[in-house]
């Protein structure tokens, strides 16, 4: 290879990168920046009206996340598709590792520490699971999807990580993982009656599962059903969160004027209950605005999925969108007292490095799907 050729190639590569960058929907990046800015404002307030200790770090993490996202966006989707299996194996390996070596936080093993970084493998697992499932279903025809035997390997691909997450134990994330998996099955064309069968199975298994639950998990369910039963104990979080939300009213108490959050009535205000903080200070108007911004992200995922010309990308975008949606829904439903409390942060807004990086990684994949939407990949086969 002559020097000239090499130069041409690098020029060519540079042009390719530029073309791909041009393909990136910057309006979406802007939307993410807006949501992260909301997070900055909320964390500034949670920090007692100061960038430390939360808001500044949040901004830095988002910056890193943004770079990561753009880098991943430029990676060819075919390479990503090829790496899907390996990623799934890596995710499962990390889940095993966390059970063996993980740090214990709040009674469960959820984190592993890699240098300064705390990684929560269950977050990563949901993304690599979507990748693996998309890779499995990418060539499957409608007839093939009707074959129950074809659905058994992907079901096992879902159940292995779910079992490991339950073992941590982290019921909430396990359920979300199941739902993400189910969404991909659904989008890929699994027959509807099979979902009915699955739901019936869950309904039958629920009482047995309740028997095997940890006390704190049962407490969450019972306090959800009747939060007032133990106002200073397990029900405290829900009650205080509802008080904070409700007292915000339509227009809120004003920036930094939220009493519940600032006076520490609100637990975990920088992580799980950050939405409450926002809703207290900016009212229903602010809360709905944030909800709309997050809804736009979900909508974007849907649009990317619909516009994509290969099944892998469609399923990946749909799965990632559902994952993001479930984060948002579970978190907001939790703080409004609509579902039992589980440690689910609000993506892009809550304080936390691991969640931010995995979320941005997911968006990187999503953008890659968008950039490479016309790539030749995974034609249907019987």
């Amino acid at each position: 290879m002559s020097i000239l050729e090499r130069r041409l190639l690098t020029q060519d590569r540079g042009a390719l990168v530029l073309r791909k960058l041009w393909q990136i929907p910057w309006s979406f990046v802007l939307l993410l920046c807006a949501i992260a800015a909301v997070g900055y404002v909320a964390l500034y307030s949670a920090g007692g009206g100061a960038p430390e200790p939360y808001a500044a770090r949040h901004a830095i993490r988002f910056g890193f996340g943004l770079v990561l996202m753009l880098c991943v966006a430029l990676v060819d989707i075919r390479l990503i598709a090829r790496l899907s299996w390996l990623s799934w194996l890596g995710g499962v390996a990390l889940l095993v590792l966390v059970l063996v070596h993980g740090s214990i936080g709040k009674g469960a093993q959820r984190w592993i520490e890699i240098g300064p970084l705390q990684l929560q493998p269950s977050e990563l697992m949901k993304i690599v699971l979507v990748m693996a499932l998309a890779a499995w279903f990418q060539r499957a025809s409608w007839e093939r999807m009707g074959n129950p035997l074809f659905l058994i390997p992907p079901a096992i691909m879902v159940l292995i990580p779910v079992g490991l997450i339950l073992k941590q134990p982290n019921l909430g994330t396990a359920l979300i993982t199941c739902m993400v998996g189910a969404a991909v099955f659904f989008a890929a064309g699994a027959r509807l009656w099979k979902f009915g069968l699955g739901l019936a199975g869950v309904a039958l298994a629920a009482p047995i599962a309740y028997q095997h639950m940890h006390d704190y998990q049962r407490a969450r369910i019972t306090t959800f059903l009747d939060p007032e039963s133990d106002p200073l104990g397990a029900g405290y979080n829900i009650i205080q969160s509802k008080i904070a939300l409700g007292s915000g009213g339509v227009w809120g108490k004003g920036f930094l004027q939220g009493t519940q959050g600032h006076l520490n009535f609100l637990p975990e205000k920088q992580t799980d209950f950050i939405f409450t903080m926002l809703a207290e200070e900016f009212g229903l108007a602010g809360a709905l605005t944030v909800l709309c911004l997050l809804g736009l992200v979900v909508l974007f995922c849907l649009l990317v999925a619909l516009r994509c010309r290969h099944q892998y990308g469609r399923l990946l975008a749909m799965g990632l969108g559902t994952n993001f949606f479930l984060y948002v829904f579970v978190n907001v439903a939790m703080v409004t007292g609509s579902i039992p409390v589980g440690g689910v942060p609000l993506p892009l807004i809550s304080h936390g490095g691991s969640a931010m990086l995995t979320t941005m990684l997911g968006f990187g994949l999503l953008l890659s799907v968008h950039v490479h939407r016309d790539a030749e990949l995974g034609v249907a086969r019987d």
Binding site: G246, F329, A380
Partner: protein, 621 residues
């Protein structure tokens, strides 16, 4: 390839349908969240806003300073004094034990005190102060402050406690304060504050509401664990009102210096009924109630025969003896059963059936009219008058002079006393005999009167008005009614009769033969006192003793008669009145009248100093 294309198309259509279905579901769930938020923030917003306020706002009461009690010259007789206490805030020290160790080297702490402090530190949140020691002296406080660097976590807190500078001198009048009991709870939230005190006796109790004031409140913003973040609002309380009483503290002290146990003295302004001094011996130190008195001290006070806690001037009940004779005389005159000039022969006794009623003077007084009967205190004259007028009219007259009625003095525990009537006796199921009437004609028998009532009777004789005794001059700077003679309605008693009695009382002190001649006021004062002696038996003297030439001094002290004296002065323009009761003082003229004289001299010296001699030819001439 067409098959592949068709297959691809079909797969894509399926995906599109299902993706839209999923998207729709997600949209629906977002809608659910939005309605949920709307419900919480708009529909139930007001309710949650209230809950949030309750969450963060804690209202604490600030006790108002208790009003002071001032004497008639404005001297503080019940005030508030700073009280230093040492508090420990556990979170400000690394080692509670070490801090207490250092502290006990400065102010010794007993083992049980340390145990209590450590227990409270464990039980409370770490920023809540725990009292280490109350009632520090100024010196202890100063030593703690100096050593502050070695005492991390120790704070000095300044509070107030009730303080009675006159110690025991005014205890019976001013009263004392103590922590409220269950029955004191009148719905005022102030009473639930720790450290609050309520009046338990005397003026402190009577004027409790005025003295207490109204609690202020401070709204504090607190966080979830109760730590105060900042003060939101402060509503100052209403300070307790000062109460000015008519007693002169210096006169009171001077009188108390002259009297022994069992003696009570009441000095009143004869023009308006203000009580100028009210002494009852023995007394007690009201300051002791502040810090809580020991059980032993309480037992000693309550079991003592000298009853230091009881104000005998308003709660001690005595037969009036001869001091009552004015009432019998006035009743007889009013009933027109006798004229002032009518003479009764006193042979030294009066026989009724086979009972002989003796005059105190064995030889008798001969013929006596009303004036000389009072002057000599002739018993036979009043036996006769009582016989003529009857007990009920005597009692009615006595009631008009304030005897046996509630005088409304501002001292809880003041007794109403008893002036017997025929009906009263019959209510007991016993008949009223004429013999009883005779005995009651000289102030003996069932009477139960307080020294204050005797003083009031004297004031009413002196003024002819239905003057009520009272202690309050002003509350919160507002003068009370009753300070003028004209504030009181006239007694419905003939002025001529009253004048006769007043002159007779003058004769008691100032004419030869009067029972209290030796107690007349010194000539230098230029004032003449009118008065009446009284001696009341506490034990019956038998005929046998009488015939053996019995002398009362031979009796043990507690069997000796009580000595009484009532007086007003100047006799022609009454300014002061007093009543003196000396328990077991043997005789009114021997014990009570001389004391009354000293009291009068003291009172005139202090309250109505003689006009300064005019500077002759000051303007040169």
């Amino acid at each position: 390839m067409r098959g592949v294309r068709r297959e691809e198309e079909r797969r894509r259509n399926t995906f599109t349908r299902r993706a839209l279905a999923l998207g729709g579901l997600q949209l629906g769930l977002f809608g659910f969240l939005a309605t949920r938020l709307w419900h919480l923030q708009v529909v139930e917003g007001a309710r949650y806003a209230t809950l949030a306020e309750e969450n963060r706002i804690s209202v604490r009461l600030i006790p108002p300073p208790r009003g002071r009690v001032l004497d008639r010259e404005g001297r503080v007789v019940a005030g508030n004094r700073l009280n230093w206490s040492a508090l420990l805030v556990a979170e400000q020290t690394q080692d509670v034990g070490a801090t207490l160790e250092t502290f006990s080297r400065i102010v010794p702490l007993a083992e049980h005190e340390r145990a209590r402090i450590e227990r409270e530190v464990r039980r409370r949140r770490r920023f809540v102060p725990v009292t280490v020691r109350d009632f520090l002296t100024w010196e202890e406080m100063a030593r703690i402050e100096v050593n502050a660097p070695d005492l991390p976590g120790i704070l000095i807190d300044v509070g107030t406690t009730r303080f009675y500078p006159e110690v025991e001198h005014l205890a019976h009048v001013v009263g004392y304060v103590a922590p409220p009991a269950e029955r004191d709870m009148d719905g005022d939230p102030l009473l639930e504050l720790p450290g609050i005190r309520v009046g338990r006796a005397g003026v402190e109790k009577h004027h409790e509401l005025a003295l207490r004031g109204r609690a202020g409140a401070v709204q504090l913003e607190v966080n979830a664990v109760g730590r105060v973040i900042r003060e939101l609002d402060r509503r100052e309380g209403i300070q307790g009102q000062d109460v000015q009483i008519s007693v002169d503290a210096e006169l009171q002290k001077a009188i108390r210096a002259k009297i022994q146990d069992g003696t009570s003295v009441v000095v009143m302004d004869a023009r308006n009924g203000e009580v100028l001094a009210m002494a009852s011996q023995p007394s007690f130190d009201p300051n002791l109630f502040n810090s809580g008195i020991s059980a032993a001290q309480w037992r000693q006070w309550t079991s003592s025969r000298a009853t230091p806690l009881i104000n005998k001037a308003v709660s001690g009940l005595y037969a009036p003896g001869s001091t009552f004779k004015m009432m019998v005389g006035l009743a007889a005159l009013e009933a027109r059963v006798a004229t002032p000039a009518e003479r009764v022969f006193c042979p030294g006794h009066m026989d009724l059936g086979d009972t002989r009623f003796h005059c105190w003077r064995r030889g008798g007084h001969g013929g006596v009219d009303l004036r000389s009967a009072i002057k000599f205190s002739c018993d036979v004259y009043f036996y006769e008058m009582a016989r003529r007028v009857g007990i009920d009219r005597i009692a009615a007259m006595a009631n008009r002079f304030g005897l046996g009625v509630d005088l409304g003095i501002e001292l809880p525990g003041a007794r109403r006393g008893l002036v017997p009537t025929r009906a009263w006796r019959q209510a007991q199921g016993k008949p009223w005999n004429l013999g009883d009437t005779l005995v009651h004609g000289i102030g003996q028998g069932f009477y139960q009167l307080t020294p204050l009532q005797l003083a009031t009777m004297t004031v009413r004789i002196a003024t002819g008005r239905a003057v009520q005794p009272h202690l309050t001059r002003a509350v919160g700077g507002r003068r009370m009614r009753g300070g003028q003679a004209e504030d009181w309605p006239p007694l419905d008693v003939s002025e001529r009769d009253l004048q006769l009695v007043r002159e007779a009382m003058w004769a008691v002190v100032n004419e030869p033969g009067g029972t209290a001649l030796s107690s007349r006021l010194p000539g230098a004062l230029g004032i003449a006192m009118a008065g009446k002696t009284g001696t009341t038996q506490v034990r019956r003297i038998s005929r046998e003793q009488r015939e053996r030439g019995f002398r009362v001094e031979q009796l043990p002290r507690e069997w000796r008669p009580h000595a009484l004296f009532v007086a007003f002065a100047p006799h022609d323009a009454p300014r002061l009145a007093c009543a003196v009761v000396v328990e077991h003082g043997t005789s009114g003229s021997g014990a009570a009248a001389p004391l009354a004289r000293e009291v009068m001299v003291e009172a005139f010296g202090r309250l109505c100093p003689p006009p300064a001699p005019r500077m002759a030819a000051a303007d040169g001439g």
